[in-house]
């Protein structure tokens, strides 16, 4: 039965307290450990389709009569339009419709960042659309941009009220300490770089807008676009069957979708609007840069007495302030914590969520600081972390639904022990070292989310839900869960997703929420189907339902009877069994978090500053593991992306004009397969007993969180250099090495 409750809802660390309608989740969890299908390493159910190119992505959608849109974007970080010749654009060959600043909210005559949309055109081909835009001949009054985040904080150009957290007594904590370390850390602006750029194809069928889009949030896009066009929500049908990556940047509709929808409305034809790779690298969102001034204070035994931080996030023109102080507030037990976070509004392209926004940046600062503290205390870094383990949430004392971080540390030990042997393998200019870092993040998911399952006379099951698989293998995980509950082979389950007109609501694929939100709903739906099948079998074989079960594709009875599932479902003929499931609520008064630890091994060439990551061991605690193979892929992907963040990736902006200098993949260097180290994945795999009928948390984000800090700590271990700024460029590393040598000389010269 549906129930109305008031509860806290969380997406990527952003909480809102609200009323929600939930349904009960009455199923008991399966016992811990691998089961017949769930917990078994399983190849992707859509792997062949993807590998052969049969899978249809938004980029593949071709509709009859489809037009192509191009967007005129501002070449200045801040400017005012003086003149724009849209008539010339309209008269260009192949042009079918043109819209300008007065026609759509996302187009402007006063752009506030490079790439801000100004006008758009739909034409017979993309080339014609682009050629037409060249005739617009805009004239600009260029205005002074605000680019420096510290300056923005001084001028109070902020996107949100400064966020303060103050618990205990920070100053008393400092005074009680034997050792205090303070340092400034910086993280850079990063680009998501999904393989499929942001894009949509829009098409009006009567009053309904059919919208193919590369999205992480089918239902959010539906509502956003419907509101923009004054339509009832189901007046927009959103389709996304396969999508080529998002990493958080595809949570909203985006200007390209609204442009395509409006041009399709005006022309009566389907319109594609796809960002080019260069547009992708400017306007599709970014992980904002941060400046973090941090303090850690401890007694000589390592007990933290105070933690403090001032965080400045360079958000750009729009966006929200990610929880950069979150790790400092939550990762360790500390009674006295004071943080303040500022979100600077600048004439730079808006930020977007990016795989654990805030926590990735904040963990880099905090976990490097902790190693600096360990060095000052002459304590083992792993031991220091153990001594400050938090048994409950430090922000409000809530108990965790489950926490196995100590177990992660225990398993990290064998990897950590390697450091002596790794260091000993230093040779010539190559110095080797080992570093570690811990991880905390959300990932519990929540209601609502629904699934339907139907079974026909052939005994095959179809899971129907309007969710998206953003590349994380969700389709496979859902098929496993349904197959497990129904007691049928994986091949007997199909999963139909990706269409808001053909299935119930599903959660956004963000905040590591998909499996923990959708998995329990799919299991509930399967249980509903199973109950109905057993009801029919009971009547057919004159047995009580409670002595029947579904196992290995058979209906079995306690007294040894066995009938194939098809024999029972064959009775249906054209009738169908329809099961329905919903995600139940999260436990009240408790905190659901994910945890982990990583150990990185690096080699540093002290003459050139080159860093090679040679091995990363990742141990994470995310509750029950549905697909160990899919899970290790997530861990590998997160670590590889984090290696780019640590060593090579950075969006560079011209400090005078605010224009993005790294618009190509040549200038913005993501790692390639040749840069990938040995990655060892270990998952604790203990179901969270308080969380849903599944006990699973999300794993999309946790693995990217601690890697950069572990690498920086390994570099310090190898060379003694303090690296406090990302990316750790080779030239900056050489300067840090020089500074470390200088300090050592001075240390040696000083009287004992």
């Amino acid at each position: 039965m549906a129930r109305l409750i008031r509860t806290e809802k969380e997406v990527e660390g952003r909480f809102t307290e609200q009323w929600i309608v939930v349904e009960e989740d009455a199923l008991d969890q399966w016992p811990a450990g691998p089961r017949t299908v769930v917990g078994q390493p399983t190849r992707r159910v859509d792997g062949v389709e993807r590998a052969t190119g049969a899978a249809v992505y938004t980029a593949d959608v071709q509709l009859p009569g489809m037009l192509h849109a191009a967007v005129l974007r501002s070449p200045h970080a801040r400017a005012r339009l003086v003149r724009l010749d849209l008539d010339a654009v309209r008269a260009a060959p192949g042009v079918r419709a043109v819209i300008g600043p007065d026609d759509l909210d996302v187009l402007t005559s006063e752009p506030c960042y490079e790439g801000h949309g100004v006008a758009a055109v739909a034409a017979d081909s993309f080339e014609a659309a682009r050629a037409a835009l060249e005739l617009a001949a805009p004239e600009w009054e260029v205005l002074e941009p605000l680019l420096d985040p510290e300056e923005a904080v001084r001028r109070e150009s902020l996107l949100a009220e400064p966020r303060r957290h103050d618990r205990g007594d920070f100053d008393r904590g400092l005074a009680a300490a034997d050792v205090v370390v303070q340092a400034e850390y910086r993280t850079q602006t990063l680009l998501h770089n999904p393989l499929e750029t942001h894009q949509s194809v829009c098409h009006w069928e009567g009053d309904t807008l059919v919208l193919y889009t590369s999205t992480q949030n089918i239902w959010g896009v539906r509502d956003e676009v419907a509101d923009a066009f004054g339509l009832p929500h189901d007046g927009v049908r959103v389709i996304c069957r396969f999508m080529g990556g998002g990493f958080g940047a595809k949570n909203d509709a985006g200007d390209y979708t609204l442009v395509a929808a409006e041009l399709a409305r005006r022309t009566g034809r389907p319109v594609r609007c796809a960002l080019t790779r260069r547009e992708e690298n400017v306007v599709s969102g970014n992980r904002n840069a941060t400046i973090q001034r941090l303090t850690a204070a401890a007694r000589s035994d390592g007990t933290l007495t105070a933690l403090g931080g001032e965080f400045v996030s360079a958000l750009g023109w729009d966006g929200w302030l990610g929880p950069t102080a979150g790790p400092m507030q939550m990762l360790y037990a500390c009674a006295n914590v004071r943080t303040v976070e500022y979100g600077a509004k600048l004439n730079l392209p808006p930020m977007a969520a990016f795989r654990a926004p805030g926590f990735v940046e904040g963990t880099f600062g905090l976990e490097c600081l902790l190693d600096e503290l360990a060095a000052r205390l002459e304590l083992d870094p792993l031991e220091l972390r153990r001594r400050n383990h938090a048994d409950s949430d430090g922000t409000d004392d809530r108990p965790y639904t489950s926490k196995n971080l100590m177990e992660c540390y225990r398993r990290a030990e064998t990897h950590w022990e390697r450091r002596h042997e790794v260091r000993a393998r230093s040779e010539g200019p190559w110095k080797r070292g080992v570093g570690m870092a811990s991880q905390i993040w959300y990932g519990g998911g929540g209601p609502p989310s629904y699934a339907w399952i139907r079974v026909g006379s052939d005994g095959r099951a179809v899971v129907v839900t309007a969710m998206q698989d953003i590349g994380t293998g969700t389709r496979t995980a859902m098929a496993q869960i349904a197959a497990e509950e129904l007691g049928v082979p994986l091949e007997h389950v199909r999963v139909e997703i990706g269409d808001s007109a053909r299935g119930p609501y599903s959660v956004i694929s963000g905040g590591s929420s998909t499996t923990p939100s959708m998995g329990p709903a799919v299991r509930s739906a399967a249980a509903d189907v199973k109950r109905q099948i057993l009801e029919i079998a009971a009547q057919r074989f004159h047995l009580e339902e409670r002595v029947l079960d579904l196992k290995g594709g058979n209906v079995v009875s306690a007294d040894g009877g066995s009938w194939s599932l098809e024999e029972v479902t064959g009775l249906l003929e054209d009738a169908q069994i329809l099961g329905k499931g919903a995600r139940g609520p999260n436990p009240t008064g408790m905190r659901v978090m994910t945890f982990g630890a990583q150990v990185a091994e690096v080699a540093v060439d002290v003459e050139t500053g080159e860093v090679r990551v040679e091995r990363v061991a990742a141990i994470h605690d995310v509750g029950r593991i549905v697909n160990p193979l899919g899970a290790s892929s997530q861990v590998e992907g997160g670590i590889i992306q984090a290696i780019g963040h640590a060593l090579s990736e950075e969006r560079l902006d011209d400090p005078a004009t605010g224009l993005v200098l790294t618009q190509t993949l040549d200038a913005y260097k993501v790692p390639t397969i040749a840069d990938v180290p040995e990655i060892v994945t270990e998952l604790v795999d203990v179901p969270d007993e308080h969380l849903t009928n599944l006990g699973s948390k999300g794993l999309g984000e946790p693995p990217i969180i601690p890697t950069a800090a572990a690498i920086a700590n390994a570099i310090r271990d190898a060379t003694g250099a303090d690296v406090r700024s990302l990316p750790i460029t080779r030239e900056e590393l050489l300067h840090a090495l020089e500074a470390a040598r200088e300090q050592e000389r001075r240390g040696a010269a000083a009287p004992a």
């Binding site: 003459e607 500053g609 090579s648 560079l652 790294t662 260097k669 390639t672 040749a674 840069d675 050489l734």
Partner: protein
């Protein structure tokens, strides 16, 4: 990004190719296409006809002369050089070709295209200069040879002018060679690369990525200090870009020059 419309020709002989290139101002030779197609996509070049050299057997293959001289056809791919038994006569050739980019690029890219594009970050321009190579160029007027150190004229400019083809790269016998580079990422573009050869007297040290053309430095000896000093004295003015500041490139030039010469010495002994 999509290519603009462009005419395509596939001549049957080197003579025909040269004639086509000479006839049309906007004609460009197409070898592996690993640079040309990219610059066409980026609209940095817009030839109106591409003259595909891929059918020309005359331009392919590696011959090893009795005196150890290697004659390498311009259309020989990196992979062919890496796998060639003949090319092992000068082992550095295969070793360096194996470091270029990734498998796909190595299967398509050619020695001729690599030196004719003279992208300052390419691997082969400094190498052919260090090895004392000779370039054979064919035009409608006939054939001529140019020493490698006179072949490179500027960014994307070489002695093989409009209407001409590079047909052969000739590498003399030798083995005391070394190469050191620092790419952006394990298989990326070089930030600095240095080729060195000790065959034939004083070391030939050639620094790439620091100027429009490879810079030949002649240290007095193969000692570390002499090499470092000679590179410093060359007064390099490398570019300052998104990948590295000029100062860092200058530093790398010295470090990598020493490493390249050390590698050459090791091979000599």
């Amino acid at each position: 990004m999509l290519l603009r419309e462009v005419e395509y020709a596939r001549p049957a002989s080197v003579g025909d190719a040269v004639r086509l290139l000479a006839e049309r101002d906007g004609a460009r030779a197409l070898a592996g296409g690993q640079t040309l197609v990219n610059v066409m996509k980026a609209r940095a070049a817009s030839p109106d006809v591409v003259v595909d050299l891929n059918g020309l057997e005359e331009l392919k293959g590696i011959e090893l002369g009795p005196d150890g001289t290697l004659e390498i056809g311009a259309m020989t791919t990196y992979t062919e050089i890496v796998e060639s038994a003949e090319a092992r006569a000068r082992p550095i050739l295969g070793e360096v070709c194996a470091q270029i980019a990734d498998v796909q690029v190595r299967n398509r890219g050619t020695i001729g295209g690599n030196v004719c594009s003279n992208d300052p970050t390419n691997h082969l321009p400094p190498l052919v200069v260090a090895l004392g190579g000779t370039m054979t160029i064919r035009g409608t007027g006939g054939e001529r040879t140019v020493p490698a150190e006179e072949f490179f004229l500027g960014v994307y400019m070489t002695a093989a002018g409009p209407g001409e083809l590079l047909t052969t790269v000739t590498i003399p016998a030798g083995k005391a060679d070394g190469f050191a580079s620092l790419p952006i990422g394990r298989d990326g573009t070089c930030i600095v690369n240095v080729a060195a050869s000790l065959d034939g007297g004083a070391p030939r040290v050639v620094v790439g990525c620091v100027d429009a053309v490879p810079v030949l430095v002649r240290p007095e000896s193969a000692e570390d200090d002499a090499v470092r000093g000679a590179v410093r004295a060359a007064g390099l003015q490398p570019p300052d870009d998104v990948h590295a500041p000029a100062e860092y490139r200058r530093h790398l030039a010295e470090v990598l020059a020493v490493r390249a010469v050390r590698a050459a010495k090791e091979r000599a002994s």
